[in-house]
């Protein structure tokens, strides 16, 4: 009799588990494509903010490679590099670099470098800096991030690639020096990496499709 009770109870629990999983599976099937598309649109929007449509005609989303350099790109994990081209000629490379030493941990950056080595622009993709102090690095909040535009390794010396407090040319914010310092350093390092590997970056074939859809 007890066995029967246990079986019935188990069956009820199992039944609901199946119904629940079905609901999730159906929703997943129905939204998978839309999520992938929303993800791609969001990414393309931030890429094209730095390299506008007029400047490139290739499929930025798929023209991507992964490179790893702990010292210069801030992570032991692979860093994505999107490549902008026009009529097959290289235009710019967009690095998803990481500034590992922000005040609230790693800051994810998007660093766009023109083929000639000058910066097309920098944006912060994700950060955990103090609201009201460190978050002036966001383009919506302040123009600070725009101060990188057009700079390169030749316009500024290594000593100048620092915040003003450390003798460089970039502003720090009142009350928040660590955040801008981390970003200036990461951008500088990314430029160095680009200088050393420019031809490799543009000549390596893109990653296969299946790998890149996984984030």
């Amino acid at each position: 009799m007890i066995v029967r009770q246990i079986l019935i109870t188990g069956a009820i629990l199992g039944g609901f588990a199946i119904i629940g999983s079905t609901l999730v599976a159906v929703t997943y099937e129905a939204t998978e494509e839309r999520i992938e598309q929303a993800h791609r649109e969001a990414l393309l929007r931030s890429l094209h903010e730095l390299v506008p449509h007029e400047r490139c005609d290739n499929d930025l989303y798929h023209d991507v490679i992964e490179v790893t350099d702990k010292a210069l790109l801030g992570s032991h994990k692979p860093t994505r590099v999107y490549r902008a081209r026009k009529s097959g000629e290289p235009v710019a490379a967009l690095f998803t670099s990481i500034a590992p030493n922000g005040y609230g941990g790693a800051i994810k950056l998007l660093v766009a470098i023109n083929y000639d080595g000058s910066l097309a622009g920098v944006r912060v993709l994700q950060h955990h800096e103090t609201p009201g102090l460190g978050d002036d690095i966001e383009a919506q909040r302040s123009d600070w991030i725009l101060s990188f535009n057009n700079h390169s390794l030749s316009t500024l010396s290594s000593e100048q690639w620092r915040v003003e407090k450390d003798g460089g040319v970039f502003d720090q914010f009142t009350g928040a020096t660590i955040t801008p310092r981390a970003i200036v350093k990461a951008v500088h390092h990314t430029l160095k990496y680009f200088q050393q590997h420019r031809e490799m970056i543009f000549n390596t074939p893109s990653m296969p499709r299946e790998v890149e859809s996984r984030e």
């Binding site: 609901l23 939204t31 009201g132």
Partner: protein
């Protein structure tokens, strides 16, 4: 609960037994996400939707689920709905979903939802359960939005900032900047601001309740000639 009425349920959910003000449930997402109005509204809507779905389902199956396994079954139902809503938000409100991040999946752990399933939905008919879910959810959402608006107003001097994340780019006009060149009051946006803000709101609610009670007692006392039933203050 034989004397349940729709009006009672509404009063309980929205005010007298408000999830956030009185039961003090679901405080983790409440305090974390209420740093601006739109975030609060987003999480409030998601929670409301989960509460509606779970209350209705739990009520519909209340005769089939044995007491021994009811909690795991409730948790499974809630988790399935939350996952489904998480996916839907990621698909249709991608930017808002990115901001709310972990707090959408964490709705599963909002005690308010399983508490309503266990305490109300599993004992009442679907109509009442749905209404209860709606009122409890609205009550929770109202607190999220009010606290979010308060913190946003004090913290950065705006209201409905980033409305376009939720309603599309056509809704950018919703954003109201109340003070130009406002320097910002950092404390309001940081976690302490959430605790202090919620504390003040609860105090305000209690004060309102108390003054209302005093007034009704006063009118009762004056309309009642029997001296034995006078309020002690007036004797």
């Amino acid at each position: 609960m034989s004397n349940t009425s729709y009006r009672d349920i509404a009063e309980q959910g929205l005010w007298q037994n408000n999830v956030a003000f009185v039961q003090l449930l679901g405080l983790c997402p409440l305090l974390a996400v209420s740093n601006n109005t739109i975030n609060g509204l987003g999480l409030g809507l998601a929670t409301l939707l989960v509460l509606l779905c779970s209350n209705l389902t739990v009520s519909l199956i209340r005769y089939w689920v044995r007491p021994e396994v009811r909690v795991p079954v409730f948790v499974m139902i809630i988790a399935s709905f939350v996952t489904a809503i998480d996916l839907l938000m990621s698909a249709f409100m991608h930017d808002l979903h990115k901001i709310l991040g972990i707090f959408i999946p964490l709705i599963v752990t909002n005690c308010a939802i399983i508490a309503r399933a266990e305490a109300f939905a599993s004992k009442n008919s679907p109509g009442y359960a749905l209404w209860d879910g709606l009122m409890m959810g609205l009550g929770f959402m109202a607190v999220l939005v009010v606290l979010g608006a308060l913190r946003e107003l004090l913290g950065q001097g705006t209201l409905f900032d980033q409305a376009h994340l939720m309603f599309g780019s056509g809704a950018a006009w919703l954003t109201i900047t109340l003070f130009d060149d406002y320097q910002g009051f950092l404390l309001a946006i940081l976690p302490p601001g959430a605790f202090i803000g919620l504390g003040l709101l609860i105090a305000a609610k209690n004060w309102l309740d108390q003054s209302k009670r005093k007034r009704t007692e006063a009118t009762l006392a004056t309309s009642n000639p029997d001296p034995l039933r006078l309020h002690p203050d007036q004797s």
